[in-house]
Symmetry: C2
Subunit: 395 residues, 2 copies
Amino acid sequence: MTQCFYKDPQVKNAEERTIKYMETGPMPSFEITATSGNARVGKLSTSRHSLPTPTFMPVGTRGSVRTLTSTDLEELGADIILGNTYHLMLRPGETVIEQSGGIHGFADWNRLVLTDSGGYQIFSLQPDVDDDGVTFKSTYDGSFHRLTPQNAVDIQCALGSDIQMALDVCPPLPSEKSVIEVAVERTKIWAGIAREHFIRRREAEGFERAQFGIVQGGVDLSLRRISAEQIVDIGFDGYAIGGLSVGESREDMIEPMVESLRTLPVDRPRYFMGLGDPAGLVEAVGVGVDMFDCVWPTRLARHGTALTAAGRINLGAARYANSQEPIDPDFPQSPAARWSRGYLRHLLSVGEPAAARILTLHNLAWLFDMMHRMRTAIENDTFHKFRKDILDVWA
Amino acid sequence: MTQCFYKDPQVKNAEERTIKYMETGPMPSFEITATSGNARVGKLSTSRHSLPTPTFMPVGTRGSVRTLTSTDLEELGADIILGNTYHLMLRPGETVIEQSGGIHGFADWNRLVLTDSGGYQIFSLQPDVDDDGVTFKSTYDGSFHRLTPQNAVDIQCALGSDIQMALDVCPPLPSEKSVIEVAVERTKIWAGIAREHFIRRREAEGFERAQFGIVQGGVDLSLRRISAEQIVDIGFDGYAIGGLSVGESREDMIEPMVESLRTLPVDRPRYFMGLGDPAGLVEAVGVGVDMFDCVWPTRLARHGTALTAAGRINLGAARYANSQEPIDPDFPQSPAARWSRGYLRHLLSVGEPAAARILTLHNLAWLFDMMHRMRTAIENDTFHKFRKDILDVWA
């Protein structure tokens, strides 16, 4: 048990203070408190914040969940948000964020932050990959940048994330098997380098950060198993399933997901990257996944689509013009419950920016409520029925 | 004293109820509670809501103050918002709004609503004006519409405004004297028709609404005096100064404003249309104006400019990239105080929509606070110094 000091990222008005904390074991601490079949409820804790799993993490790409502030996210009860390393390293740059006390200080967000490694965005830009890293062109100004397993750790440390991801190679689907094989191999090598670099920094600096490894392998079951074994062999604080939910069918997603999970240690958090629709969530929770992120609910909101107990509805449609009903009559606790579908339809039709925010608040509240109901179902060992009810509406 | 019933505009989920109220005299009731020179503090009341004057009304053009919700406006302490008849009659149309319980029910706003007559927007479209009204082309779909003194009353009644404006003719500045003369004459004729129509409806329906008349006359002092006398002769519940703050210099604005005010009854509210910058506000309050509206603070916000004790600052500027300071260190009560200039600069530079909302919240809170300090200065009879301090920074 080591006692150490770190700079509190909640720095306001350049006034700095230090906070003591006690390192208490693997980070984050994670405890399973209930199961129903393979679904599980857990408690994930750092000294900054504790949260129940399964959890959904809204995506705050550029240091803000689009249309929302940290006050909004607190009021919604968000426990953890995701920041995109690719975007933040380019704008405003990790140094600016580090000088502001990390994403926590920069956005004044007191709960948890997970950052991706940047790999996912970068591999969609057809970058120049070699054994040591990846060189890519900024979509902001065309300048060239390089990400390696080591500097991905350093950048995410500068961003101040509580949970960071090892740099992986994320090929599109479908891809040739040989492409997936190379991706799995490089992901393994990079994971080893990233883990070593991270552990060295953690031991030297005593910071309270976690690093998750990512399983790749496309939809090939044997490659999934190999990748999972390799990443678990290296040993991380938690494990992510990457390279799925990238356009393949739901059927094609399930088996590789299950195969990835088979090898992962039960006592560590498992994170499915890029999944957030209700059907996908119950399928993944049903086989033991704990953490999720996706732009789905917030992007839908900005396009005028709301989540309801009866499924999704497009509030831009003319048929809602005279509706006095709230967005979801079955969800009176929605932060948007005071406004009618007719009012929102009007705001959408004339391009009022309040519409996107109201729908973003609603969709996140709706999804957080679904996660809460899902955890309750697991605790009551009625998850099987909960899953069926969700799939009836959403699959 | 007539007892009457009206449909409560706060209709939710199509559930309707009726509320009794007692008509208690001229609407709204208005009482001067303090003066300092010609500046005055008053209390403007309807059975729905009371507010202190001088007051600033945010502009909710299309049934929403851009980027904000009614919850935001309540938290900011806004007492009264302005809706634009031109926009709302075209989208979603006054009938949709009427069926939702007026703007109050539509936007779920429990405090006061003032609507303009639509004239200001329409006259900027070079419409076809005749003695009986004005025909104009919708900027939404090119369709033709007609506004008359009578139907401007009816449309504003359908919008459910607490305070409505008589249809006026608002010429641009500069204009030929003959153009201003025709505008003054038509404004007078239309005001008479509008008032008669409004009074007939008020007597028949017993609604609790107020109608204000508008003084025109451009920058010509004799036409201002003539117009003010004509409008006061007709007799309204309150009086507005229109046709100024439309591009003329501040010097050119002051005298016609003073000339317009000279004739207006001291015991009724006086509203300067389209003015909202700090220097303009203190100049107008200093000569006895009570009410203001302007898109200035909210439009500035959407362009990245914040109001501070030291003047306006453009937070999009690169020099703020590393700033840990809040927007206005002298205004710690700002709803935006928790975020740094650096964070806002980042959000602006990457186009995050949260920036516009945060700055809109800040600018309105800042302006409301300035109005509060101004009222306190009038109550303490220190308005002269307050005005000088504001002009030192803002003129």
